[in-house]
């Protein structure tokens, strides 16, 4: 049981297709006690239904993961009700649909800021608040989710690629800052998975086909497989690893053509 006696906060669960849900399943199987944040008070019953299989879990609404005051408020509540925690998974990102449906060069100032704010700054904020509110136990681990579109051009990923590049670079700087107090920060770069977010990307299903054709393992990845990598990064088994982007993509990223 890699996560026995560990409390893990998973931020950004939405439905059974969410990568956050795959991570929750894996972490729970490995003994973790789970806490969640989700968006939209109106989704309360849906999220409770979705997470009821994780015994003893609690879910908190957070509408605005890049808003300093809102994150502070919900983190304070989480700490008051659960004590210190051992890990945080950040599975939050957003870009405006119009910025994903036309050439990247036309991204608006507002759209550029929005994608970076929600998808990259939110993780910096989460790390800072967790530190300032003294929420984390010794050896805690923080994990975020990224995608290969940060380094390679994928038609339709557009401004989200820039946001993921900012996120991956943030992981390195955060790892240095938090390393001083023994905390670890890493990212999992998941292969393409059909999630609600992926549905916003034009011609997403063709990306899935290419991975099956070209990845060394010739198959796509599941949210559970990504979850297992996150579980490893949350566990003490990975305590020599920080500041890294770990690919969970059937090896697709190593291929040339």
């Amino acid at each position: 049981m890699l996560l026995q006696n560990k409390k893990i906060l998973i931020m950004g669960i939405r439905n059974k297709w969410s990568i956050a849900y795959g991570i929750a399943k894996s972490a729970y199987e490995h003994g973790a006690k789970l806490l969640f944040t989700y968006m939209g008070e109106e989704n309360k019953s849906k999220i409770e239904e979705l997470t009821k299989e994780f015994e003893g879990s609690r879910a908190y609404v957070l509408d605005g993961a890049s808003e300093d005051e809102l994150v502070k408020e919900v983190f304070t509540k989480i700490k008051d009700e659960n004590g210190k925690i051992d890990g945080i998974v950040h599975a939050i990102a957003h870009a405006n649909t119009e910025d994903l449906h036309r050439d990247f060069i036309y991204t608006s100032k507002e759209g550029f800021s929005h994608a970076n704010d929600v998808s990259a700054y939110s993780f910096v904020l989460v790390c800072r608040m967790a530190k300032e509110l003294d929420m984390l136990n010794e050896n805690a681990s923080l994990v975020t989710l990224t995608y290969h579109g940060s380094t390679k051009v994928l038609d339709g990923y557009n401004v989200m690629g820039i946001a993921k590049a900012a996120l991956e670079s943030s992981v390195r700087y955060l790892a240095e800052n938090l390393g001083k107090i023994g905390l670890r920060v890493n990212a999992v770069s998941a292969g393409p998975i059909k999630t609600l977010s992926a549905k916003g990307i034009k011609d997403f299903s063709s990306i899935l086909t290419v991975v099956e054709e070209k990845a060394p393992l010739h198959r796509n990845v599941t949210t559970t497989q990504v979850g297992n990598v996150a579980t490893f990064l949350l566990s003490n088994m990975s305590d020599a690893i920080t500041g890294q982007v770990i690919y969970a993509d059937s090896g697709y990223n190593i291929m040339g053509v």
């Binding site: 439905n15 609600l196 549905k199 299903s205």
Partner: protein
């Protein structure tokens, strides 16, 4: 599958996603106005339909769907 069978299966999916009563759903119900679905609900519904009926619904086709009857017809024509 007959129209009726498709409709019955769809009602189950819609009830689960939108939390509406099964009895109020018919072929003429519109997702946005009658069943109060927002844009994210609709994407989730599309994902559920793709899974349940083992098919792919391209974005352009999904954008044309307005009523429950549209989905029944789409499934009949494409599965």
């Amino acid at each position: 599958m007959s129209d009726e069978e498709i409709l019955e299966k769809l009602k189950g999916i819609i009830t689960e996603h939108l939390g509406v009563e099964r009895d109020i759903i018919n072929k003429d119900s519109t997702f946005v106005d009658d069943l109060s679905a927002d844009s994210l609900d609709i994407v989730e519904l599309v994902m559920s339909i793709e899974e349940s009926f083992d098919m792919e619904i391209p974005d352009d086709d999904a954008a044309k769907i307005v009523t429950v009857g549209d989905v029944v017809n789409y499934i009949k024509e494409n599965s």
